[in-house]
């Protein structure tokens, strides 16, 4: 049976997933070796059970991200923090040095074109957490892939190691923030 792999998109810009697609022709090789069971680029509604590896892009920024992070952990054997936002909070967390009310006022009131209103519990969008957090402050993380975004080569290295049943230990050349 092929390894069951998932990718998830929390509080990030999708740049890490773009870099994943930069695997280019290697994607064809990868498609033969794995089952992609959940991903923003696959039409699957619910995060499945019994997943071998999940790559998680983005910081944990809102209530939905937080809930998703716990589901991912529960259903995945190996969780990879995928990129700088998942690892450090990065750009997603730049709002953290301002009080949440100030951030929301700026986004939803000051800059609103029409219907200025801060989303509350009666609005069906996720509530922002007080601060955006790196993934490992919410759930246990097994491997960290750095970079904004991680390069395709770095992603390929990590995936190749995992396919051989190894937990990737990134060589120093692949430890690169930003």
């Amino acid at each position: 049976m092929k390894p069951r792999v998932a990718t998830a998109w929390l509080g990030g810009c999708s740049g890490c997933h773009m870099s994943f697609l930069d695997l280019d022709e290697r994607l064809i090789e990868l498609a033969e070796k794995i089952d992609l069971v959940y991903s923003p680029i696959a039409d699957v509604k619910e995060f499945p059970e019994n997943v071998d590896v999940t790559l998680v892009e983005g910081a944990v920024a809102n209530s939905e991200n937080e809930e998703m992070a716990h589901i991912i952990r529960k259903n995945s054997r190996i969780v990879i923090a995928f990129g700088d936002c998942a690892t450090t909070g990065n750009v997603t967390a730049m709002r953290n040095s301002f009080p949440l009310a100030e951030v929301q006022n700026r986004s939803y009131i000051d800059l609103a074109d029409k219907n200025p209103r801060i989303p509350d519990e009666y609005v069906t969008i996720a509530q922002l957490l007080k601060t955006a957090k790196p993934l490992h402050e919410i759930i246990k993380v097994d491997v960290w892939l750095h970079g904004c975004p991680p390069t395709a080569d770095q992603i390929w290295f990590a995936i190749s190691e995992l396919l051989q049943g190894k937990i990737p230990v990134l060589p120093p050349a692949y430890l690169r923030y930003g």
Binding site: N90, V91, N96, K133, H136, E137, P172, G178
Partner: protein
Amino acid sequence: MSVITFIIDDEHYSAKEGDTILQVTRDNKIHIPTLCYLDGLSTFGACRLCVVEIEGSPKLFPACTTKPTEGMIVRTKTDRLKRYRRMIVELLASEGNHQCAVCVVNGHCELQNLAYEVGLDHVRFPYLFPHKSLDATHKEFVMDRNRCVLCTRCVRVCHEVEGAHVWDIAGRGINCEIIADLNQPWGTSESCTSCGKCVRVCPTGALFEKGASIGEMQKERGFIKFIVNARNKSEWVHTAHEEE
């Protein structure tokens, strides 16, 4: 001048009287990570990255301010030191707002390089995300306190080399920050000569030239040694700088 013989990592070395452990290691191509230390400036011993073990003492000693004594046994690369050095970089990362992806010195940053050197794959302490100010009132330069690691190179170079003493440290503990003159906007400082030495020695993107975009700001940290050497010895020669 008397010569001191001592041991670093099981090898014998000799030092001139007055040399620090760090000077001896640099002269002999033994690498010890540093951050606040800069050739040409006074030693400060603040960052603690250069800590070493000395046999007979349970304490750790900063190599940049500790002088060897005859027969001293120094260790620079033990597991305990590696653990502490990583922890120091983690604490620096958690106490500031360091987003490499949007930083002017991305790729040319000493803090970033230290993180790679100590194998910092993630920070185990909770990030504090402190609210820090940015001062863009100077006509040429910007001070972004979010990226400052309080190494005080700017304070020392301004006082010791330029002789203007614009910069100082205000506050205590976690609230420490670098201030201009009497804690006023940099652009209103009457003592600043706009020489740019502070900008060039800053290890991070805390001090940078206006107009520099992400990853564009290259620092030049070796020139202070050149100036100080020229001033003290009247020798206008560039010497290879180990860390650059």
